[in-house]
Subunit: 547 residues, 2 copies
Amino acid sequence: VNIPRKNFRSVFKWGDPNHEEILDSGIRRVLKEVFGLSDDCFSQPFLAGERQISLNKASALAAPAIAELREIVGPENVETDDFSRAYHAYGKTYFDVIRLRLGMVDTPPDVIVYPRSDQDIHQIMSWCSNNGVPLVPFGGHSSVTRGLECPHGGVSLDLTRHLNQVISVNETNSTVRVQAGIGGPRLEQYLNAFESGYTLGHFPQSFEHSTVGGWVVTRGAGQESTCYGKIEDMVRAIRLISPVGTITTKDYPAMSIGPDLNNMIMGSEGTFGVVTEVTLRIRAYRPQNVRYFSFIFPTFEQAIQTMRLAMQAEIGHPAMFRLSDPEETDFSFRIKGYDRKIDDRLLRLMGYHPRKRCLMYVTAKGDPDFSNLVERKISKLARQNGAFALGSKPVLTWLEQRFSSAYLRDPLMDAGIMVDTLETAVTWDNLINVWDHVRQTIKKRSPAVAMVHLSHIYETGANLYFTFLATMDRDNPIDDFLQFQASIIQSIQQHGGALSHHHGIGRMMAPWLEQELGPDALAALRALKKHFDPHNIMNPGGTLHLD
Amino acid sequence: VNIPRKNFRSVFKWGDPNHEEILDSGIRRVLKEVFGLSDDCFSQPFLAGERQISLNKASALAAPAIAELREIVGPENVETDDFSRAYHAYGKTYFDVIRLRLGMVDTPPDVIVYPRSDQDIHQIMSWCSNNGVPLVPFGGHSSVTRGLECPHGGVSLDLTRHLNQVISVNETNSTVRVQAGIGGPRLEQYLNAFESGYTLGHFPQSFEHSTVGGWVVTRGAGQESTCYGKIEDMVRAIRLISPVGTITTKDYPAMSIGPDLNNMIMGSEGTFGVVTEVTLRIRAYRPQNVRYFSFIFPTFEQAIQTMRLAMQAEIGHPAMFRLSDPEETDFSFRIKGYDRKIDDRLLRLMGYHPRKRCLMYVTAKGDPDFSNLVERKISKLARQNGAFALGSKPVLTWLEQRFSSAYLRDPLMDAGIMVDTLETAVTWDNLINVWDHVRQTIKKRSPAVAMVHLSHIYETGANLYFTFLATMDRDNPIDDFLQFQASIIQSIQQHGGALSHHHGIGRMMAPWLEQELGPDALAALRALKKHFDPHNIMNPGGTLHLD
C-alpha cells in the first residue's frame, strides 16, 4: 500500500490515497435530482479528513514490552507510530470512515507487528498469552464488519508484509497452497501466468485490497461465486495457530472424519487463532471461452423466476449471475444518461418500463461447449420470461469497472452523502418478502436511494445486496447513521434473511447474532472460543458476540 | 423390518432374514480357484447363527427405571427382550457379524426406546442425564464402524418406528424437510411420486437399510455423489437435540455467520446429541434424460487420467462415475464367465488384457442437452486415453443389482470366506501410491482377493474403496480378522489416505483418529463434546475417540 500522506484521509481512502475518484456529471445530476443537492456540495468536501493524524490515546505497552516484540520479529517489523496505529484501528465500513473523517480513532492497537513466519506467530502469541495482551490478525484492511478493531489495544498482527507468498501449485490436484497474507491480485496474477493458465475465480468487491486469510475467516464470496463457489467451497486445507495449539487440516477431496474442521475454522474471524496457510482448489484460466450476455426484464419477479429456474434446471451453472432490481437498474440508466436516449424510448415502447424493468448480467465459463450450452439455456429461459437480450457489451462494460463502485464512497461522502451496504441470503420463497420489507425500511428515510442486486445464486435461494444512499446528518452523523443501519439490519432479521451471506459478523452484526443462531448454538461457539483461547486474547471485544 | 425368527442369523442377515442369497455357479467357480475351496464348503454353513438368542448379560436397569421410560413414551415403545437388545447391539460390519455368528453379544443396550416426538427425546435425554444412563441414537442398523454399540449399556434410541416421515416439500426452494428416522427408499419414493418428480440423489450401498439421520451424522455418500454431492452438500438445515439444549439451523442457501454449525453437527456420530430433523436440497427426477455409458481401458492409469481430466475440464459432472481396478474388473469378468467367451478373446486381441484392463461405468443426468454434453466429452477423453466404449448395457446391468453385492456377505461367510471393505479419499497425486501399497498389504495374506474401485470423484482427487476376501481362520476368526484389518487401516494411514471418505469413524477407526487429525484438532472436538454432553451420556465408549 502506497501511503504517502499521514493524514486521516489517507487511512480511510479506498485504494491509492493519491488518486481521488470524482463523481461524473451523470452521477451529480442524479444526486441533485434525488437529494436536492446544490453545486456547492461538490466543491467543498465535507469532513475531508486532511488533518495530520495524532492519537490522544498513548500506547498502553511500555517500552520494555515493545522491546521484547522487537526481539522476536526484528525492530523493522514493529511499529508504534500514530499513523500506523490509526491505519490498523478500523476496516472500511461507513462507520469506520465517518469516525476517521471526524478524527476519531477509538480502537487503535498499541503496536503493529509484521510476523515473518509461523514461528514468529507462535512466539508473539505466547508473549501475548503470557502478558494478557490482545492479538488481532490483520490482512487487507477491507473489513466492513468492524472485524479489525482493537477495543482493548494490544497487537495488530499484520500478515501482509511477509506472509504473502504462493507456497506451491499442484497441477495434478488442481490446488494452490498459499500464505494467508497474500492479496487477491498477486495470487490471481500468479495463477494466470502459469503456462497452463489457472484461476482461483474469487473476485469479491474488495478483491484488490483483501487477502486469502481474510476471505477464509469471514467466509467471503466473489462476483463469480455461482460457478466457483464461495471461498469455503474452494478451501481444501487450513493451518490455524491458536493459543492452545496448531491445527493443520489435510487436503483430501472429501472426508468422513468427524465434524469438519475447515468449516469450524472458516468464519471464526480471528477469535480462535491466526490462519497462516490455506490450500485452495484452482480452475483453468480460459478467457477465450467466456460467454458474456445480458438481458432486460419487464419485472423483477420474472427475472428472479429465470434465475431460479436456471439454477434448478441442471444445465450447468453460469459464472457471474447478477440481477439489479428496478431501482438499481433505473439508477444505473440515469447516471449514464440512458434515460434521455432514443434506445430507452424504444425499450419503453417494448414494455420495459422504468421502476419495473431489471438488468441481468451473465457470464458462462469453462469448456467452450459447456459455456455455450449455459448461454443457450439461460437465454431461452430469459426469453420465456419476457426478457430482451442486450448482448455482451453491457457485461463487458460492467466488468471493466467491476471493482470501481467502492471508490465512489469517498467523493460521495465528500458531498455529504452517506452510502453503505448490507447484505443477506434468503431462500427463493422468501426473496420478494425480504426485498420488499427491507426496501420499505430504507425508504422510511426520505429521500433515500435503495438499490438492490442479487449476485450469488444457488439452487435453493440467493443473496440480496442492499446499497443505500441518503444525506448525512451533518450535526450528528454517527448516531444518525447507526440508528438507520440498525433499523435495516433489524428488518432483514425480522423478515427471515440471514444476518450475512458473505460480509461476516465482526463487531458490527454481533448484537444480532444470538437472535440469529439461538442461545444454544451461540453457547457452542463460545465453548469453542473458550477452548482455543482460554485467556481471551484473540481478537477480543465482541467479535462474533463471543465475549 | 420383517424379523420372524428370533435367532442370531436374523440379526446379522443383510435385509430380509427370510430371503437367503445364494452364490451362483460363477462365483463358486472363482472361489474354488482362488481359495481352493471344496464343494463341501458350500453345503454346510460355517457358524450359521441359527441358535435362539439369549443374552448372558441382564439389563442393568431395574424395573422402576424401565417403568419411568414407559411412562414417557408409552409401554408399547419400550423393549427389553433379548432379541431386541441383540438387534440394537451392533451394526453390520464384519466384526459385528462374526461376533453374532459366534453367539457373542458384547454391547447390548439395557433397553430400546422408540420416541414419538422431539418432546419424547427431550424427556428421555433429561432422564438419562439425571440417571447417568448412556443414550445411543439408532437408525437403519447399517453402521460399518461400530457406531451403534452400547458398551456401557443404557438406552438405544431407535428413531425408525415413529420419526420416519416427510414433514414438507418446498418446490420453490427445491428442498425437503424430513424426520431423521426416515429410510432411503421411503424418502426417495415419496419424492419420485410427486407430480413434478423429485429425487434426493443419495444412493449409498446401504440405501435400503439406512436413514437420513445416519447419513448426516456419519457424512455418508451415495453412488451418484459425483453430481449430487455427499450428504453434507445436500443438507441445508439440521435440528440437534443435545443434553445442553437444541440447535436448529436455518435453511439459507449460503451464509457467513461464524463457524458453520451444520458442518459441526454432521460427522458428530451421535456424540453431541440426537439429530431429529433435516432439510435437504432436492433435484428433478428425470429418468428419461439419463445417459448410460461404459468403457474398458487398457490400464488403470489411463482410466484414472480420464477421470481426473473429466473432473477438471469444466464440462459438467457425471452422476455416477465408477472405475474398477484390474483385479475387480477381472473378478467381475470371471464370476460372469466372460473370460471364457469369444468377446473376451476379442478384447484381448484389441489390447485389453486381464490384470491390466479396467471397467468404467458412467451415468449423466440433468437437462437432456447437459447429460448429452457430459457423455460426449467424457467419451472423447476416454477414447483419447485408449478406452473402448462398451455402451449402456453393462451400466444398466450393474444398476439393476446396485444394492445386491452387500447381500453376498452372508453366503460368503457361510462358506468360510471373510469379506469386508475399507475406504479412503486421496488427492490425485497420491492415488496410485495408496492403491498400490494398500493392495500389497492385503496381498501379504495369501490367498486374498483385493478389489478396488473409485466411485466418488472430485476435481482434486477421488475415493478408493477396497473390498477384500480371504479364508477365515476357523479356530480364531476374530483376532485373525482384527489383525488383518488393522494392518490395512494402518497402510491407508501411513501412505496418506484419509481415515474415511464416507463410512465415518465410530469406534472402529477411533484408535487411528488422533494420528489422523493431530492432538490439537482432537482436543477441539473433545471440547465440543464436553460442551454438548457434560455428563458423557451421548453414544459413549470411544466413538470418535472422544472419551
